[in-house]
């Protein structure tokens, strides 16, 4: 215990004992904050108090000194609890820094370059509900008239989900071809995820490959929300169904693939369940609502359409989306 603190305490105590004013009490309160900053433990405060009283009133009966000694003993465990709290606070701070770091790494990892293809307008919006995004979107593009797109949703959140995503990314990078077909991509990623992920974590993924010269989209799904096909000439919406099990459940899973050819103004709308599983006070937001929102802006650029769908769904849910939201539109122009 530094000498100057003891002297200061004695002075403040003496002032208060002489005159019990608000002002003198206030000085004491401020001093106690300083003691906390200096890491002075509760038992040290009492022993300081005892020393100060002895200086000021040395003729007090023994019973008073014994009672201080007893009180010092009583406070020792409080001191330990305080130390523990301080080390927890420090640890929490470290974890927060690590978490921020992980979120940054994830953001870097998630970075993907929008492909640029003749006759294809792409809109993309991916908004996490919390700090870490459980949705993953990745484009594979070689500037050769083909572009692959993966839309994935990791079931399971936080750090493990982010780690899972990096596995998907490296799986996709290892294929390293915009020509890779959906059923092959999904099989490869399934084997990676199945081997490495724990039992309660899974990934749903939609993969599509677009061939610009033929305006042909080939797609497959691993347990993912079906993409939507909008036909400009009929104004109709259809679900692009493709059978396939979630990634990471069974190594034996096989994946289908199907193709559609896009005409001018046609759109393929890919999304995660954060888009379709919205709920308002009246109940679920049905798919028809999403169709309607897209139709309202069908003649606008793809980015304007995804933004409109997001804005409206957010508004319906009182600006409180419960799940990560990812929406991608491929529009043939």
């Amino acid at each position: 215990m530094p000498q100057h603190i003891e002297a200061q305490y004695q002075e403040i105590l003496n002032e208060y004992v002489k005159k019990q004013t608000e002002q003198n009490l206030y000085v004491g309160q401020n001093f106690s904050r300083q003691l906390i900053l200096e890491n002075i433990s509760p038992e040290e405060v009492i022993s300081m108090h005892k020393a100060a009283i002895r200086e000021l009133y040395s003729d007090l009966p023994d019973v008073v000194w014994h009672s201080f000694d007893f009180l010092i003993e009583m406070m020792i465990n409080y001191g330990l609890a305080l130390q523990e709290r301080q080390s927890l606070l420090k640890r929490q701070e470290e974890l927060k820094v690590e978490m921020d770091l992980a979120a940054n790494v994830q953001e870097t990892l998630l970075k993907t370059k929008l492909p640029s293809l003749d006759g294809l307008d792409i809109g993309l919006l991916s908004i996490p509900a919390k700090k870490m995004n459980g949705d993953y979107i990745y484009f594979v593009s070689d500037y050769d008239g083909y572009a692959g797109v993966a839309v994935a949703d990791v079931i399971g959140k936080g750090l493990p989900a982010a780690l899972c995503m990096s596995m998907i990314k490296f799986g996709m990078d290892s294929l390293n071809s915009s020509h890779a077909m959906p059923k092959d991509v999904l099989s490869v990623i399934n084997r990676i995820v199945e081997k490495s992920v724990d039992d309660s974590m899974f990934v749903s993924m939609f993969y599509a490959n677009y061939d610009a010269s033929a305006a042909k989209l080939t797609y497959g799904s691993a347990g993912h929300e079906p993409a939507i096909l909008y036909r400009a000439n009929t104004g109709g919406f259809d679900e692009l169904e493709a059978k396939g099990l979630l990634l990471g459940v069974s190594p034996a899973a096989v994946y289908e693939e199907h193709s559609v050819t896009l005409g001018k103004g046609d759109m393929v709308i890919m999304m995660t369940d954060g888009v379709t599983e919205g709920r308002t006070e009246e109940g679920f937001i049905e798919r028809d609502v999403i169709y309607e929102l897209i139709e309202q802006k069908k003649d606008e650029p793809a980015q304007a359409i995804v933004q409109h769908v997001y804005d409206e769904l957010e508004r319906m849910q009182n600006a409180e989306l419960q799940d990560d939201f990812t929406l991608v539109i491929y529009k043939k122009v």
Binding site: D199, G223, E225
Partner: protein, 127 residues
């Protein structure tokens, strides 16, 4: 043995209560159960914890009635898949019954409907 968990959320200034109720009884390696309420990220841990108590049992025959489930999201699905995988690995069997059309769709989209033993609720199966 009933377990009731209530999570209150503040949405739009009004009070929306989310709840889940899980009743499980086990007899002679046969697990019977019914689940009521919503299974989402908030309530799924309750269900997971209840099911985990049985997942290490050899040759467990489990049948869970989901007809009281109003809502389930992918987190809830994850709980059932984890349970399915672990009891399957121990030579057991899991059957889910009473699925609403919404739940049935979730199992079908994810491809789980093809590998798991599921049964739609009578009169609720179509859509």
């Amino acid at each position: 043995m009933a377990f009731f968990s209530r999570i209150e959320s503040y949405k739009t200034g009004c009070h929306i209560e989310m709840n889940i109720q899980v009743n499980l009884t086990e007899n002679d390696n046969k697990l019977k159960g019914d689940i009521h309420g919503e299974i989402d990220a908030h309530t799924a841990p309750v269900l997971r914890e209840k099911l985990e108590a049985y997942q290490e049992q050899e040759g467990l025959n489990a049948e869970l009635d989901l007809s009281g489930v109003d809502y389930m999201d992918s987190t809830g699905l994850g709980v059932f898949v984890a349970f399915y995988k672990s009891i399957n690995a121990k030579g057991g069997h899991l059957k889910l019954t009473g699925l609403s059309s919404r739940l049935k769709r979730l199992f079908d989209i994810t491809g789980l409907g093809d590998i798991m033993d599921i049964e739609a609720a009578v009169g609720k199966g179509g859509n």
